[in-house]
């Protein structure tokens, strides 16, 4: 494989700092490269700066210093509307529009992109199948769905215009453990097929180990390390070791090691 690495829809943080208007710093000198097609999990405690990092990618926030590059172009020089339509965004539970039916929620991006109505309807059907929802839910409102169904609708909505990049902010955080495991498995299958560039925020180490190509560990606004799941559980970084310990290290084995062991 001598072809140059594909950098389309890669994401890069170069010396990025972010401060609030009140000058409270949230992120310090972040350097991070996210490769196309990988699932990078941002892991860390609540308030460590994971969500801030995510919002810097679709320019809901702009860096105070340094630059965030999406597809080799600084986010501040993108037209934010165009940028965001290339970047699917899934947030925890509340992001669905309560006054839209499932059908309109999923078809939102195609609709604001002015697709013809029959193409939107067809696309919504495809997506429904993709995320495993039954078509009779189309006319329901988000409040009439279970937590797991809502989250599937959220994923379908983010995928609607087939964006190359997907940002997921604790998408499975509010679900019960069984539903969460189900959605994680579906996510893995989906990602294997779609090969999006995914940035996934969670504080759940198990989830990170299960889903990540690489884990970026953030603590108090600083990136501590970026490692593959197997490296991560054996990391010598004291903060990482402490985090892994907190989850009961002995019982944790990354998903890919398990499969290696049985083959």
């Amino acid at each position: 494989m001598n072809s140059p690495p594909d950098t389309r829809f890669a994401i890069e943080f170069r010396n990025v700092s972010y401060r609030l208007a009140s000058n409270v710093p949230l992120l310090f000198d972040l350097n991070l490269q996210i490769h196309p097609g990988e699932t990078l999990v941002l892991l860390g405690r609540s308030g460590s700066g994971k969500t801030t990092t995510l919002k810097l990618i679709n320019r809901l926030l702009a860096p105070s210093e340094g630059s965030v590059l999406v597809d080799n172009r600084a986010t501040v020089s993108w037209d934010p509307i165009r940028l965001r339509r290339l970047v699917g965004y899934v947030i925890q539970d509340v992001g669905l529009f309560p006054h839209f039916t499932v059908e309109r929620n999923i078809g939102l991006v195609p609709q604001i992109e002015d697709w013809p109505a029959d193409r939107i309807r067809q696309r919504v059907q495809e997506l429904l199948q993709l995320v495993g929802l039954s078509p009779h839910l189309l006319s329901r409102y988000p409040r009439e769905l279970s937590g797991g169904q809502r989250q599937r609708v959220g994923v379908a909505r983010a995928l609607a215009a087939d964006p190359p990049i997907l940002l997921m902010d604790e998408p499975f955080g509010a679900l019960d453990p069984i539903t969460r495991a189900e959605l994680q498995r579906e996510f893995l299958e989906l990602q294997q097929r779609l090969q999006k560039t995914v940035v996934f925020v969670t504080h759940d180490l198990r989830e990170a180990l299960r889903l990540a190509s690489r884990i970026a560990f953030i603590d108090a606004g600083r990136l501590i390390t970026v490692e593959t799941p197997d490296q991560f559980v054996n990391s010598i970084e004291p903060q990482v070791a402490a985090y892994v310990d907190a989850f009961g290290a002995g019982r944790l084995v990354p998903e890919n090691q398990k499969t290696r062991g049985t083959s």
């Binding site: 934010p80 509307i81 992001g95 309560p98 991006v109």
Partner: protein, 210 residues
Amino acid sequence: MNVLHFILQNRSEVIEFTFEHLWLVAVSTFLAVLIGIPLGILITRHPLLNKPVLGVANAIQTIPSLALFGFLLPAPWIGERADRLVILALTLYALLPLIRNTYAGIKGVDPAVIEAGRGMGMTSRQLLWQVELPLSLGVIIAGVRVATVLSIGLTTIAAAIGAGGLGQYIFRGLAMVNNSVILAGAIPAAFLALFADATLGWLEKRLTPP
């Protein structure tokens, strides 16, 4: 009952006055909606305008209505006819509830929903029409309801400067020291207010997103 007797005897006049009354209320509320809702939206977009706009609308409310009619009397075109003058005054009074409720309604939309919309790449115009306004419609209609009921009451004073409406009975009755005549204006006005309140309350409930 004297009042009923009086109303029945003068029923065509009572109906005429009621329609005059309704017309003054409808035109002024319509104008206030046309001005107040965009102003309310504007101050959610430009927070610096928030205090001055709400301050002025508040100040207008504190002016007694008879005094406001007096202030507007020398105005060109407006001052020439009593109904124009009354409509302008009623419009000004109705602005506060409309601006305030539009502002509060939009500000009350779950910020997570708005951020999700922005994250999807919605323009601020799309956010306004598809998310913020539909989700705050109930609160905005509540503002229209307050403004309408307020105007129905205030319009009774319009008779003092000769703009017509049910206030004519009230002032006539006061001059004649005749309670029946006063009530012939006050009772239909009260019913109008109750009716408007109930209708708009129903609409408010219908349009409030769950």
